[in-house]
């Protein structure tokens, strides 16, 4: 059975009532799972220490975050990406981010020690945080922290980023690392934050050929997405032979997400999660650490992550949403009222450029595989 990691302190990572990265999303998932009759007994971890963080972040950056978090002022907060619209300075944010990072790190420790094979961290996924820069709602890169720990225990790690935004922070931190494969599937940087994640970003030095990016056209639908995922991840994992998979499960590639433009449905997410679980079994001895990530529609994100939980636990996907849950979160869910865990039939109008988008994505995959082929000899 998968181990689930969560701590109530995750809720303290709250960047303000107007900010899209709401801790309410996790509350809604936990409540939905309980209402669906799931016996949730999560493992609670301790916060990551400053020393843990120094494995992936610069010391002056960590000091700046902690100082700002404690209400102090440090020089050059802006140069660390702090105090911006996306990363406002909020009291206690450093400690909250360390609680979340500690959870993901604990998942990695359990896997490295052989105490767990599958871990689901119900939080985290801060893939934009860079070595020396807060970015895209992220302060501390919990994924990089987990990967660093696994590598220190001589594990080869394949990182798979399903968030609709490029996993630029994780890629940057392991850009020259030969023990870490990063794979990111995202809406093209031509249209979406952070603007990077191109097929020519292949890694440097010993890491060359081990950092793969698949930028997808806006309005890409499930079948074209899945085709890209399958065509790239299978040969990459077959070549790399990881010991552990680390998966960032952002839900913002859904068609209703307010921050991005891909067109996945909850059914597509279920298919993707089952496929990734299969990859973990086939290529990583069943060892995988799943985290949450982006996902900014309150109507969607809790349902996608509940499906993730159910798939990882091999539980059936119920059809109906519990009435008590719908009632409790009525204000956040908005209208029209929801009834089912999955999206309804024909959830969005037909995409007029479907053929063109599908062809362009397929060509992108071919070009990436061509570019990387010589590093895989």
């Amino acid at each position: 059975m998968p181990k689930v990691v969560h701590h109530p302190a995750y809720g303290r990572y709250d960047l303000g009532p107007e900010h899209p990265f709401s801790p309410g999303r996790i509350d809604m998932v936990l409540d939905l799972l309980r209402e669906l009759g799931v016996a949730l007994e999560p493992v609670e971890a301790t916060p990551a220490t400053v020393e843990d963080l120094l494995g992936v972040h610069a010391e002056d950056y960590v000091r700046a975050v902690e100082a700002a978090s404690a209400g102090g002022t440090a020089a050059d907060l802006a140069s660390f990406g702090l105090g911006t619209a996306d990363n406002p300075i909020v009291p206690g944010m450093g400690e909250a981010a360390r609680w979340l990072a500690g959870g993901t790190l604990h998942g990695a420790r359990m896997i490295a020690a052989g105490d767990a094979e599958l871990v689901l961290q119900l939080g985290g996924g801060f893939h934009h945080a860079r070595h020396c820069l807060a970015s895209g709602f992220c302060l501390y890169n919990d994924l990089a922290l987990a990967i660093r720990h696994l590598v220190s225990r001589r594990k080869r790690v394949a990182y798979l980023d399903l968030d609709v935004h490029h996993g630029d922070g994780v890629q940057e931190i392991f850009y020259t690392d030969e023990d870490v494969l990063t794979l990111s599937f995202h809406e093209s940087g031509e249209y979406l934050f952070p603007g990077t994640g191109w097929p020519h970003e292949l890694g440097q030095g010993m890491g060359r050929g081990l950092k793969l990016n698949v930028p997808l056209e806006p309005f890409t639908e499930g079948d074209s997405y899945f085709n890209a995922l399958e065509k790239v991840s299978v040969p990459a994992l077959d070549f790399f032979r990881p010991d552990v998979l680390v998966v960032q499960c952002g839900a913002d590639a859904h068609h209703l997400d307010p921050l991005a433009d891909l067109m996945l449905t909850t059914q597509d997410f279920e298919r993707i999660f089952r496929f990734v679980l299969g990859l973990a079994e086939q290529y990583a001895g069943g060892r995988a650490l799943f985290t949450l990530g982006g996902g900014y529609s309150m109507r969607v994100t809790p349902r996608v992550w509940a499906i993730l939980y159910l798939v990882l636990h091999g539980l059936p996907i119920p059809e109906a949403l519990p009435a008590a849950w719908l009632e409790r979160w009525r204000d956040r869910l908005g209208s029209p009222s929801l009834a089912t865990l999955h999206d309804g039939a024909e959830p969005y109008p037909a995409v007029p450029r479907r053929g063109e988008i599908t062809r362009q994505n397929a060509m992108m995959v071919d070009r990436l595989l061509d570019a990387v082929a010589r590093y895989w000899l």
Binding site: A85, D86, D168, E190, L192, G195, L259, D261
Partner: protein, 209 residues
């Protein structure tokens, strides 16, 4: 952006009596395609790898021996540019004359060289993503104050502009592409719409395009 910001300073040059085979070897070793030809301190010509290959090819009308001096195959007189010329002027000259490089002269002294590839690098710098940022594209009416109104609105939202690029789009319109320091460009797009701007990206509703 000025030529001196993108040029290669102190370029490798050769004399007019240098044998073609020696010039070809210099190009190969330096992984370069253009060599200014200098006599004393005076720039007298330019040779490209194409000049050398054609001159020694049986396809040439007047084939040269590899030992022939480059003065026989070099281009002259030479089109040049100045370190303080804007790069768009240098690009215009190269485009119109269909040439691949411009030696950079300060007075009569050779101080650098710019090639087509340097112009491409400049384009990458102008359009590139230096910091994580979202993209917004707006069609502006070509009249005073429109860009100011746009950037003032971004300033009010405390959004940093990382790069800004404008180009004409039909009569009396211009497209402006901004890279701004936020993930949430949709919220920004809605505000811009409310303020009467024609937002081309992001779509305010899915599939609007």
């Amino acid at each position: 952006m000025l030529v001196r910001e993108i040029m290669h300073p102190d370029p490798v040059s050769i004399g007019p009596d240098t044998p073609i085979e020696r010039a070809a070897a210099i190009m190969r070793e330096g992984n370069i395609r253009h060599l200014p030809v200098v006599e004393g301190v005076r720039l007298v010509g330019v040779v490209t790898d194409r000049d050398l290959r054609l001159a020694t090819s049986s396809l040439s009308a007047r084939p040269c021996a590899p030992s022939a001096p480059v003065r026989e195959v070099m281009s002259h007189p030479v089109e040049t540019t100045h370190p303080l010329d804007p790069i768009e002027v240098a690009a215009r000259v190269m485009r119109e004359l269909k040439i691949g490089c411009l030696p950079v002269l300060d007075g009569s002294r050779l101080v650098g060289i710019v090639t087509g590839v340097d112009i491409l690098d400049a384009l990458l710098q102008l359009t590139g993503v230096e910091r994580p940022s979202g993209r917004i594209e707006v069609r502006l009416v070509d009249q005073p104050g429109e860009l100011a109104r746009l950037t003032a609105l971004l300033g009010e939202q405390k959004l940093n502009i990382h790069s800004i690029l404008s180009y004409p789009d039909g009569e009396h319109r211009g497209r402006t592409v901004l890279r701004v320091g936020t993930m949430d460009v949709r919220a920004l797009a809605e505000r811009l719409c409310d303020a009467g701007f024609e937002v081309l990206w992001p779509p305010v509703q899915p599939c609007r395009r």
